[in-house]
């Protein structure tokens, strides 16, 4: 099949992401050992699993982090070959990662950073740079949407932010970019219950029938707020069980050992 035909077929079938037999390694050590996963537009998929099961590796491979090498398998995103795309192209095509550990960029204000980001995305779509007044309005609107403290945006990117502020800042950036596929990597870690609610609310407000979300988490607590359509258990580099949100509760109760 030609690329265009594949893209059309994925569109007809409403498939956003399809991972087939994905193997990936870091420093020669195989972490992912044959992942298969299909995600449709409008769906929320939770990926759970114990430490070291490969959850974060999966998010790194999906976003093109070069530290990880894909050794086998295929990923189609909206029908296109994802593994051929540079990380920044994946972003401009609508893939967003809420980082488990957001990175500090000293001296670069959030305003400057976001303006650069927004304009790179616009350029990719063939649009002119955003005007200063439109940009400020966009920032205001999105800050309100995710309930972020307005002072954060005048500070350098993530510098001196508390753990909770960093995670809120990720969701704020997500709101600015309105991604097609959002990957939340341990977004709940280090959040108190109030911050967790704010973050989850933000994510829920951004959900539409046209976008999809992958929620990577240890605990089912976050899934009380962001309710998944599917829950997958990742164990030693492959998906060992798939179910609905009830599976998350069962895991909470029994742990992961019974799945081994």
């Amino acid at each position: 099949m030609s690329d265009n035909l594949i893209i059309d077929k994925y569109k007809t079938d409403n498939i956003m992401l399809q991972i087939k037999d994905l193997h990936a390694s870091v420093d020669g050590k195989e972490i992912l050992k044959g992942i298969n996963l299909t995600i449709k537009a409008g769906e929320v998929h939770a990926i759970m699993g114990p430490n070291g099961s490969g959850k974060s590796t999966l998010s790194a491979v999906l976003t093109g982090n070069e530290r990880f090498q894909v050794t086998q398998g295929e990923i189609r995103y909206k029908g296109k070959n994802l593994l051929e795309m540079a990380p920044e192209i994946r972003s401009r095509e609508g893939i967003f990662l809420s980082f488990q550990y957001p990175v500090e960029i000293p001296g670069v204000s959030m305003v400057n950073f976001m303006k650069t980001v927004v304009n790179e995305h616009r350029k990719y779509k063939g649009l002119d740079p955003i005007s200063a007044s439109d940009f400020l309005k966009l920032m205001r609107d999105k800050k309100e949407l995710v309930g972020i403290d307005s002072q954060l945006t005048n500070r350098p990117v993530n510098e001196g932010f508390s753990g909770g502020e960093k995670k809120k800042n990720e969701i704020y950036q997500m709101a600015m970019l309105e991604p097609t596929l959002a990957i939340l990597d341990e977004t709940d870690s280090g959040l108190d219950i109030d911050a967790l609610r704010i973050v989850a609310n933000g994510v829920n407000k951004l959900r539409t029938k046209d976008n999809a979300t992958i929620v990577i988490t240890h605990y089912q607590r976050l899934l009380e707020y962001i309710v998944p359509d599917f829950v997958h258990v990742l164990y030693q580099g492959s998906i060992v069980k798939t179910g609905t949100k009830e599976l998350a509760l069962e895991l909470e109760e029994k742990g992961y050992d019974w799945l081994k």
Binding site: I105, G107, E120
Partner: protein, 482 residues
């Protein structure tokens, strides 16, 4: 990863030097070589008074007894002083009062460099002295400034028109025997800028000198003298570029600043001489002595420099804090890429009581370059309660470059406080990936990160030039991923 980075570095550090063109203009030069005759000839062309010639000759004979300094962390090839032309001037009158008299080719050259000489077109609020090779081509806004009693003219003109001022201050803070390159400059300097701000006057616009080397095989030896009388203020900026040539050219300048009682001088430099190509061929050898003295009580001298050009940079803008409560500042961003070498920093000499100094140095090294900070903080016996704060940060891009810090501290007064902080970091792969994941490609991400790193210094530049400097940083580092 290492190989990927190398590839990107190798592919992309080939960004072109934007100012590398040559202007076709008839040039009057004197023969190559350095001798007493050369010195006499330059003085004669400039129609200088006897005392000026004496100053030059004394310096020349001093120079002959001195040796090229070898203490810097630089690999300086031997310079053949007999192979340099010491005077080159675009062939026309020495100075123009009206723009109509200036050769259109020269006007075009400066337009191309973004320095329009027509006053109505110039940046609002900036007066410019344009220097090409050995002479000043045109100084703008002279009349406006003269109304306030401000003198802003070429150095040669100052020697003719204001000999008493020149005589009183020349060589008083950088004496001819100060160092090898200062001695050379004192013997053969050809032109430069002269500024005098009278008592109580706040200079209403930025003053700026733009230096351009054009002629082949020529050295540029300019001399700048800035005098801020009691209770005055001036902000001064210099910029510089040169054509791309395969051979190295020498630039040895001297800048002297005098700040009298409560006077304040802000001196900013955007140094963008041709750095040589990506293989290290060609480029300017930049040996500069810059020093200011805060003579008066509560006076202030602030140096800000953005150094991106030159094959070799040897430069230590310094402050002698003689007045009580005087203030010295040094803010520096030095970028080296490819085979560039920079050894730069400052000296803060505390003589007065309660004198304060601040040093903020940001070095950025990429490619195979070497970048050193060298600084001296000296507190004399009488400088009670003086304070210094120094911060020296180095940022490395790639793993083939070097960053070095050489701080010297000499404290003879135990009521003084001196603080020194230093960091070395690499642009993190995690920072780059974070930017990539948000849709920013690596080139743009490096520019963003480096500008963030240097922000503290860039913020000190006059508004008109801060934007220019930011772009320059980005261009200088194109592709040098670490």
């Amino acid at each position: 990863m290492v190989t990927d980075n190398d590839k990107i570095i190798d592919n992309l550090t080939q960004s072109e030097y934007k100012y590398g063109f040559t202007t076709e203009i008839e040039t009057k030069t004197i023969p190559k070589g350095l001798s007493e005759e050369t010195v006499r000839q330059i003085s004669k062309i400039k129609n200088e008074p006897e005392w000026m010639l004496e100053f030059r000759l004394k310096a020349y004979y001093k120079f002959l007894t001195m040796k090229c300094p070898d203490w810097a962390h630089l690999n300086i090839p031997e310079i053949d002083f007999q192979d340099i032309i010491y005077y080159a001037a675009p062939k026309q009158q020495a100075k123009y009062e009206s723009l109509d008299e200036v050769d259109p080719v020269l006007i075009e050259t400066f337009n191309k460099l973004g320095i329009p000489l027509e006053e109505q077109k110039i940046f609002a609020g900036v007066a410019v002295d344009a220097v090409m090779d050995s002479i000043s081509v045109k100084t703008t806004f002279k009349t406006t400034l003269a109304e306030k009693g401000i003198i802003f003219c070429s150095f040669s003109e100052a020697v003719q028109q204001h000999p008493d001022l020149v005589k009183k201050y020349l060589g008083k803070v950088v004496p001819p025997h100060d160092n090898y390159f200062a001695a050379l400059n004192s013997a053969v300097f050809s032109d430069g800028s002269f500024v005098y701000i009278p008592k109580g006057v706040r200079c209403p616009m930025e003053l700026s000198t733009y230096f351009r080397i054009n002629a082949i095989n020529t050295g540029q030896f300019e001399r700048t003298l800035i005098i801020a009388d009691d209770d005055s203020y001036v902000s001064y900026l210099e910029g510089c570029t040169a054509p791309m040539r395969d051979e190295n050219q020498l630039h040895a300048a001297v800048v002297e600043i005098f700040a009298e009682e409560r006077a304040s001088v802000k001196y900013s430099t955007v140094q963008n001489w041709y750095p040589g190509d990506k293989n290290g061929v060609g480029g300017i050898y930049n040996f500069v002595t810059k020093r200011g003295i805060c003579r008066g009580e509560s006076s202030k001298i602030s140096w800000t420099q953005v150094e991106t050009g030159s094959a070799i940079t040897w430069k230590y803008p310094s402050c002698i804090l003689k007045g009580d409560n005087s203030v010295g500042e040094f803010y520096s961003v030095a970028v080296t890429n490819n085979f560039q070498q920079a050894d730069t920093g400052t000296k803060m000499i505390h003589l007065g009581r309660n004198s304060k100094s601040t040093i903020v140095s940001k070095g950025i090294s990429a490619g195979k370059s070497q970048n050193s900070y060298r600084g001296l903080v000296k507190v004399s016996k009488k400088a009670d309660n003086s304070r210094n704060f120094s911060q020296c940060d180095s940022l490395l891009l790639g793993d083939k470059c070097g960053a070095h810090t050489f701080p010297y501290i000499d404290i003879q007064n135990d009521t003084s406080i001196v603080e020194h902080e230093a960091t070395t970091s690499k642009i993190g792969e995690d920072q780059l990936f974070y930017c990539n994941q948000r849709g920013i490609d690596t080139e743009v991400a490096i520019g963003l990160i480096v500008n963030g790193y240097a922000r503290e210094v860039l913020n000190k530049l006059p508004m008109e030039f801060a934007v220019e400097a930011q772009k320059l940083l980005q261009i200088s580092l194109e592709g040098s991923v670490g």
